[in-house]
């Protein structure tokens, strides 16, 4: 067993313990203590949840709200949580369903409401304003371009392929975990992952090459 796997098991055990304790405290009506205990779970899963929500929503504010909703929902429905299932899986499922609902609502909204024009350059999103380890402006620009291309390519994938790719590749979930999270069977998960990578390669590696060739031809002619 690797260190990471061992840590995962320990984390899961801790999650189950915390979730059971919160459930018991809620049942006793000791809500303040239940919330205190629940804070452990929130602290442990918050970053990962925010990351997953951000990959789905591609919008910091919406991802933030989706994470909040998921934690509130999980707390209020903790009585329906079964200990045999890892809390992480149960919670991530709530989060993903919430994100998908939000995406549907957003698509509906965008169909009927004209988008607002972008504000001045100084009023960009909080996430965009936060700089990492202060890379050079050129690096920042290149990185932003690369990320935008990746986001556009991911957006072109079918929803299931996108979900499987994000959970498997970004979050490092095994096919069994992705199967538990998405409700797809394991072999379907593998097929979706394969197709997602193939399509992304076509869009991100082969397509720019085609674009470069077109540019070269233009220069020569």
């Amino acid at each position: 067993m690797t260190g990471a796997q061992a840590a995962g098991f320990t984390g899961r055990e801790a999650d189950s313990g915390a979730a059971s304790a919160v459930k018991a405290l809620q049942a006793d009506g000791r809500h303040a203590e239940a919330r205190e205990r629940y804070a452990e779970l929130v602290a442990r899963h918050q970053r990962r949840a925010s990351r997953i929500a951000f990959h789905y929503m591609r919008d910091v504010a919406e991802a933030d709200e989706a994470v909040q909703d998921a934690f509130v929902k999980a707390y209020s429905h903790l009585s329906s949580f079964r200990e045999e299932l890892p809390f992480e899986v149960w919670f991530t499922r709530i989060l993903i369903n919430g994100c998908l609902d939000r995406i549907k609502a957003r698509t509906r909204r965008e169909r009927w409401i004209a988008p607002m024009p972008d504000g001045p350059a100084g009023e960009r999103d909080f996430g965009e304003r936060v700089a990492g380890n202060d890379p050079s402006p050129e690096d920042q620009l290149l990185s932003r371009e690369r990320r935008e291309r990746l986001a556009r390519a991911l957006a072109r994938l079918p929803e299931r392929q996108r979900s499987v790719f994000m959970l498997s590749h970004y979050e490092g979930c095994t096919s069994r975990e992705v199967s538990a999270l998405t409700g797809l069977n394991e072999s379907t998960v593998r097929v979706h992952l394969f197709r997602a990578i193939r399509k992304l390669r076509t869009l991100l590696v082969e397509a720019p090459g085609v674009e470069r060739n077109v540019e070269k031809r233009r220069v020569h002619s």
């Binding site: 925010s50 991802a63 095994t174 990578i197 193939r198 590696v205």
Partner: protein, 203 residues
């Protein structure tokens, strides 16, 4: 080893083959090298290139998410989550249906009833006083009538008053005449001569 298997091992892996190998390794978590990759350096290089590209995609995506959610944002998010949980657990505030607000309304109407009663009492008292005044006037009127009916008595009294004031006027005027005739200041005599007199005015 059969010729077919040997052919399969010697033929280079295409992109799909490399992705399939990577997918299997990724989803199962078992890193076993494909027999062809062990023998073919070119395919091994292409597989390494694919793996590093996928790794760079993963790092890019994760770092973007991390940058979007710095520690301060996560702290704020956590605070909001617990504020919402607290609010959800607090018993809901029940707004009383108007029917249940009856005591409050009745208290108000009690006061207003007193005000109305005082106003009515004031009106009644006012009307009563008005009536009494009217009655007094009507009682005083016969006396005036009586006075009109006996002029001789009043005439005698008026004559007495008139004679008294005439005597007083006469005394005043005579005193005035005496003062004028006694014009004894020599410096003012010339001025007096120039001053027109009431008696000089043509009639």
């Amino acid at each position: 080893m059969s010729i077919l298997n040997r052919l399969r091992l010697t033929a280079h892996l295409d992109e799909a083959g490399l992705i399939a190998i990577w997918t299997d390794a990724s989803t199962t978590g078992v890193r076993q090298l494909h027999p062809h990759l062990e023998n073919c350096a070119a395919c091994r290089t292409r597989f390494a290139e694919l793996s590093s590209w996928l790794e760079s995609v993963r790092i890019d995506a994760r770092s973007e998410a991390h940058e979007s959610f710095p520690a301060e944002r996560l702290a704020a998010q956590q605070a909001l989550i617990f504020r919402r949980l607290e609010a959800a657990e607090r018993p809901a505030r029940v707004i009383a249906f108007p029917r249940f607000a009856q005591p409050l309304t009745s208290r108000t109407s009690h006061a207003s009833r007193w005000i109305a009663a005082a106003a009515a009492a004031g009106l009644i008292v006012g009307v009563g006083v008005g009536q009494l005044m009217d009655l007094r006037h009507s009682l005083a009127r016969p006396q005036a009538t009586q006075a009109r009916l006996s002029p001789t008595v009043n005439a005698g009294r008026d004559a007495r008053v008139q004679s008294l004031s005439a005597a007083r006027d006469e005394a005043f005027l005579s005193e005035l005449d005496a003062t004028l005739s006694r014009a004894s200041v020599p410096e003012l005599r010339a001025l007096d001569a120039f001053t027109p007199k009431a008696d000089d005015q043509p009639r």
